[in-house]
């Protein structure tokens, strides 16, 4: 019995030593589409893409600090970016993805937010980052487009 236990424990240690550290570059379901959509095109005609699966390629400029549950990816044009939201825990983007090139896939979603909802969202975002936020800067509601992320590949 003791010998058998020793074998089990030794095998586990050998497995541990052989297992190379995994720094996942692929997240969630990975990538499945052949074609990349331009973010400029998507943001130019967003309603054409609502509920459709798209693939975007660009620079990842921001990532959720605490849960890794969202990121922002940019397009080719200045100031262009879109939020990619994933289900908490299903995909977790590492903070190291900030400033790295990546490709993401997801379904385009449209949200029509009231002024109160915009304030609530920005307040939450500011609190997470320890930044100040003045609700008076929000004067009206907004229509927001984002990707419900299903997978990604990031050049970490």
């Amino acid at each position: 019995m003791h010998k058998q236990l020793q074998i089990v424990v030794t095998s586990l240690f050998v497995l541990l030593l052989l297992a190379s550290p995994v720094l996942a570059k692929s997240f969630g379901a990975g990538l499945s589409l052949d074609q990349t959509t331009s973010l400029t095109e998507l943001l130019g005609n967003p309603d054409n893409y609502v509920d459709k699966q798209v693939q975007l390629k660009g620079l990842i400029v921001d990532v959720c600090e605490k849960r890794g549950c969202w990121l922002y990816i940019t397009g080719d044009q200045p100031f262009e970016k879109i939020r990619v939201k994933v289900v908490d825990g299903q995909i977790v983007f590492p903070l190291e993805a900030r400033g790295k090139q990546g490709t993401v896939e997801g379904v385009v979603e449209k949200f029509v937010l009231t002024r109160e909802e915009v304030i609530k969202n920005r307040q939450h975002h500011a609190e997470e980052r320890g930044e100040s936020f003045d609700p008076a800067t929000v004067t009206s509601g907004e229509t927001v487009y984002q990707l419900r992320g299903t997978g990604a590949e990031i050049n970490l």
């Binding site: 996942a24 600090e65 605490k66 825990g89 903070l95 400033g99 790295k100």
Partner: protein, 183 residues
Amino acid sequence: MNWRKWNYAVHRDLGFLCIGLTLVYALSGIAVNHVNDWNPNYVIERVAASIKPLPPGLVDPLTIPQLLQQLGESGAHENTFQPDADNLWIYIDQRMIKVHLPSGQVQQELFKRRSFWYPLNFLHLNHPKKAWTWVADIYAAALFLLAVSGLLMVSKKTGLKRRGLVLTAAGVLLPLLFLQLYY
């Protein structure tokens, strides 16, 4: 060997086998339970600084090294992004430097993985997926067996008829109570 001895042996050996995983899940469970109060994965340091103000608009990429020099940065930056005409974000290694152009105010964000907590949370939240999903499933099944075999470890003093019954009932009622309150 009768079933009681088998039950004891299963409970004892599974218990030993589960110690490591239980520590991982228990410690990480506490850590991620309080995610609203702290960041269980990263230490993020924010340092304020300032540079000479710049006019709003698109920043010429060639001017960024000069801008970084004002912050005492000599290394090359990886990437930059402008979320709007007033702001510039610069990425260097494990840092993000946010520059507000019209005021010249700078905020540097330096992040570092928590060397103890990050790996625990990595496993607990099943970031690796793949084979780790199997390990986690087997661990869950082992916990189930531990619970059942524990329940069957009846002794004269702590059997189900006495203290065991009260404690088991309390353990079952606790989640039911919270379901009643919050569900």
